[in-house]
């Protein structure tokens, strides 16, 4: 049996670990609150954009009246031969199954689309690390002449085309817009035939799911085109609820949302009033300009949600870790006391039997 000193040392070490996990939990809770606020604050813009598009869609003739073809390149569907998969993961670990779930979803998506060429764009350090290990990076030939885009030399069916790290840490619209513009330009130049997004959706602390969403081509507005979603199990939810409670994060940030909701109703009617607008530009033109913004806003939305979900996942994971550490300290303390007691008993017996021998 281990001696008292060893046990005491182990208890101290576990206690230190508990201190760290507890601190991480509180930090995550604070960050989660901020991320949540941002996610909520970003909603009106996205909703307004969608309703303007919706109303424009009726007015702008997006189908060519003669040929019946779609006029805007972002609405065109092509057979999916080459797919762009944007994977939003976290920058850091220690978030329970957060990153693993994303990778699982991405892997099953890749498996389902076996035989097609898939380009991966990784947002977040964890995703980059994983995909880099697994798949080769895309090779571009040296640009020979200035006007043409550098030619792509495809070595394998699945390649990593780009990576964005540090975007999530300090999320700003500009960076996301640049990425979205890049994706749009790939799509319009027919370098990819579809773009999908894999990310963690954050509904509330206890409701998060991994979703695979189609970004391009745009088939329907307003509705997120969710291909597949994975809901958390009940136990996982309970776990998260417990963690949130102990960290002082409200489960349902409805108080803040009540004011929002009234606003959102108005938002839904934004640009859809039954009046004849004067259009400064032709509806088509506005429509064409707004569509790329819609893609950007979707991407921005995904990153915001993912950040919130990451913090929530980390908070839950760290809460579990703290609880486990506490359990461990309890059991170690018990063992230690037993060992000490045994030693004392042994000594007494020795003294007593020694005295009896005399």
């Amino acid at each position: 049996m281990a001696n008292v000193l060893d046990l005491r040392r182990r208890i101290r070490s576990v206690r230190n670990t508990r201190q760290i996990t507890k601190a991480m939990k509180m930090v995550s809770a604070a960050k989660l609150r901020r991320a949540q606020e941002r996610a909520v604050a970003a909603r009106p813009y996205a909703a307004m954009l969608a309703s303007v598009l919706e109303s424009l869609k009726r007015r702008a003739e997006i189908y060519d009246p003669e040929t019946g073809e779609v006029r805007h390149p972002l609405l065109l569907t092509r057979p999916e031969k080459r797919i762009l998969l944007v994977v939003v993961s976290g920058d850091k670990g220690f978030a329970g199954a957060f990153n693993t779930n994303i990778f699982k979803a991405a892997a099953s998506f890749i498996a389902e689309n076996n035989g097609k060429e898939i380009d991966i764009e990784a947002i977040g350090r964890k995703g980059r690390d994983l995909f880099r290990r697994r798949y080769p990076a895309a090779q571009f030939a040296e640009a020979v002449d200035e006007e043409r885009r550098p030619e792509r030399q495809r070595g394998s069916a699945i390649e990593v085309v780009g990576e964005q790290t540090g975007v999530l840490e300090k999320l700003n619209y500009e960076r996301v817009r640049e990425l979205a513009e890049e994706i749009i330009s790939w799509y319009t130049h027919e370098e990819v035939d579809a773009a999908y997004l894999v990310y963690n959706e954050f509904k509330s602390v206890i409701q998060q799911r991994v979703v695979v969403e189609r970004v391009l081509p745009i088939l329907s507005l307003r509705v997120h085109e969710v291909e597949k979603a994975e809901e958390p199990t009940i136990e996982e939810r309970e776990r998260a609820a417990e963690a949130a409670l102990s960290a002082g994060v409200s489960l349902y940030p409805h108080e803040a949302e009540a004011a929002q909701r009234q606003f959102e109703d108005e938002v839904r009617n934004f640009g859809t009033a039954e009046v004849d607008y004067i259009y400064e530009q032709s509806p088509q033109e506005i429509f064409a300009d707004v569509l790329p913004r819609y893609v950007t806003s979707q991407l921005y939305h995904a990153t915001l949600e993912s950040v919130a979900a990451e913090h929530a996942a980390r908070m839950t994971a760290m809460d579990s870790a703290t609880n486990n550490a506490s359990d461990m300290i309890d059991s170690l303390t018990l063992t230690m006391n037993r060992v000490r007691q045994a030693a004392i008993t042994k000594e007494i017996i020795e003294i007593v039997s020694g005295a009896a021998a005399i």
Binding site: Y45, E147, Y173, A273, Q281
Partner: protein
């Protein structure tokens, strides 16, 4: 006396302004538009420039905006912009850098009209930012 306009300036991050005003100037792509109460419904894209609010709750306020559009209803104006800043928030050094970057793009654009458009846009944004920052200091 006409009523007051309800003005909203919405960015991807948050609702920046939600106030009433007597009049608002909006930088539509084809030129500034001033909207008073009772304006006919209008939908327009906005270019780089300044949104100016006058009177009402808002008093006198200016925001440098870029990329977005505006919806005008008789009693309400909603502006959606990808970027919106108060003049005093503008980082002039960054704006100058952006202008230089735009000029570089313009010089390198070759014969690609898309690149020219992009370069022009970048420059216009930078100029609008610089202009509104200077207007504050003078």
């Amino acid at each position: 006396m006409a009523g007051l306009l309800k003005i909203r300036l919405v960015t991807p991050d948050r609702i920046l302004v939600d106030q009433t005003a007597d009049a608002v100037e909006v930088p539509a792509k084809t030129g500034y538009v001033e909207v008073l109460y009772g304006h006919a419904p209008l939908l327009a894209e906005i270019g780089a420039g300044e949104v100016r609010l006058h009177g009402g709750e808002a008093g006198h306020q200016r925001y440098s905006v870029a990329r977005g559009f505006v919806e005008v209803l008789p009693d309400r104006v909603t502006i959606l912009a990808e970027t919106a800043q108060r003049p005093e928030e503008i980082d002039t050094a960054a704006a100058r850098q952006q202008l230089e970057h735009g000029e570089k793009l313009w010089n390198e654009a070759g014969e690609d009209p898309e690149k020219y458009d992009h370069a022009n846009e970048v420059m216009a944004e930078a100029r609008a930012k610089l202009d509104s920052a200077e207007a504050k200091s003078s």
